[in-house]
Amino acid sequence: MTMQTSVKTKKRGGMSLALAPYSAWSLLFILVPLIFVAYYAFTDDNFAFTTENITRFFTATSELKADDGTIGEVRTYLVIFMRSLKLAAISTLVCLLMGYPMAYIMARAKVRTQKTLVTLIMIPMWMNFLIRTYAWMTILQDTGILNGLLGLVGIDKIHIIGTETAVVIGMVYDYFPYMILPIYSILAKMDGKLLEAARDLGCNSVSVFKRVIFPLSLPGVISGITMVLIPSISTFYISQKLGNGKFFLIGDAIEGQYIANNLHFAAAIAFILMVILLACMALVKYLTARLVYGGE
């Protein structure tokens, strides 16, 4: 008896020892940094408490020249934030509309083809993000390849670079695989018998999709949406390159404050972004729970 207990305690001691370095590490370098974001956001340069950084985010104004030439005052960071939200939402929607059919096609292909397609979809992700974006810049330029090709077919040149469209193209390209893969993995696992049953019970192809396939694939759709939305809201660089620096996004604002060494204000923007993303994710989780798992 005594021997057995001693072996057990020894084992348990050994195991918590295995987890100890990681526990300490994650405390120091995951949790403490997040607390520091809040700490910096609510303090000034002398680390005295202040809400000024947060207020500045909501009230700072700057002059904006409208298209008709009139100059108006706008709330700088709110405008930037709404723009980030808008472009990220458009990109996510485009990813979903383009990605869902692709995921569907992949899931219905032969197993071998499926594997090849998944690998092919992932390959662009292994090209450095900065270079990918830069390559799009050279494609979309006024004298770039796209306009060259259009010229060959006899279509007038289009001006894309430096517009919001270019920024959206960049975002869609960079995060597209994150939309396809979760949807695909749900669709691929779907039980074919369910579809047969629906058909036997008199559904045509459209209603099979509407009533069976799509509702069952919702968890994949939702995780795809979060995986595209979060990085595209917080991205920087894409808008600097493809938007010619005209469309400052929230990520660019954080980077700008970091370069200017305004760490407290940078932390405040990051803090607000984090709170809003957390709220979004809680909402998504709540909606998933209601719509998908507890529907009725």
Partner: protein, 281 residues
């Protein structure tokens, strides 16, 4: 596949591969132009191999990636074993949640948050610049760890629990039992985790950007600097090389995984045969 499906797939892949094709083709362009191809040449590759700053940053990137991979693989594997053995549900959930944070949080927030800690601690010690190789290494280990842990954990869960117990009953110390019994079973997960950590570390820009100092520049950070000015096809040559290196790693990983699948199928087959035999006798 139907013809419309094929057409759609083709369009999607044109979209996905167009920029990569542009990079590959124009890295061999004779002229400096990035839109008109005037002739085949290897001169940008030659220039690349004479660019000492870039070579230096390649060396730095590799040093950092190897160090981050080794540390995160060892610590992450140990952590996975620890998490797997955790009895307390709450503690387990807490560890899981914390491990998920770096994967869910936007890179920019992970980067900024760590930078704030480093700067703060640096100031306590009165250092003028607190960002250097070590801060970058800490950051890279931190964002690689979850990927290692979530690769190793499922392999531990697939394993039969009794095996390590049996080894210990037969006189192994827990550590020896781990090395002799657990380790071979979870090795594929560890390798996949390590490869993921390595490629993530090689490719990371955002987190590195906020946690690096001036004295230690990695390749993505150098590329960022280069794209601020006008870019020559030299960078495309560099991108082409990196692309093929990561592609090789990816294929290697697939190879390991498919080997693993085969091993599983073999094991299952053998088990079935053995069962049949025991039934017959």
């Amino acid at each position: 596949m139907k013809i419309t499906s094929k057409l759609y797939t083709a369009l999607i892949f044109i979209f996905l591969f167009a920029p990569i094709l542009v990079l590959l083709v124009f890295s061999f362009n004779e002229a400096k132009s990035l839109s008109v191809f005037s002739g085949f040449s290897l001169k940008w590759y030659q220039e690349l191999f004479h660019d000492e700053n870039t070579l230096e940053s390649v060396k730095n990137t590799l040093i950092l990636a190897v160090a981050a991979t080794v540390i995160s693989t060892v610590m992450g594997t140990a952590a996975a074993v620890g998490i797997h053995k955790l009895k307390n549900r709450w503690y387990r959930m807490a560890v899981n949640t914390v491990t998920n944070i770096p994967m869910i949080n936007p890179d920019i927030i992970t980067g900024i948050s760590m930078m704030l800690v480093f700067v703060f601690v640096g100031r306590l010690f009165g250092a003028s610049t607190s960002l250097n190789f070590w801060t970058m290494l800490i950051a890279h280990v931190t964002f690689c760890l979850p990927y290692v842990i979530f690769q190793v954990l499922p392999k531990l869960q697939q394993m039969e629990r009794d095996l390590t117990e049996a080894a210990m009953d037969l006189g192994c110390t827990p550590f020896r039992a781990f090395l002799k019994v657990t380790m071979p079973e979870i090795l594929p997960g560890i390798i996949t985790g390590a490869i993921m950590a390595f490629t993530l570390s090689l490719d990371d820009f955002v987190i590195s950007y906020f946690t690096s100092g001036n004295d230690f520049q990695t390749l993505p950070i150098r590329i960022y600097g280069m794209t601020k000015k006008t870019v020559t096809p030299k960078m495309y040559a560099l991108a082409t090389i990196i692309f093929f290196v990561t592609l090789t790693l990816l294929l290697l990983n697939n190879f390991v995984e498919s080997g693993e699948d085969k091993r599983w199928r073999e094991l299952k087959k053998q088990r079935k045969i053995r069962l049949k035999r025991s039934e017959q006798s």
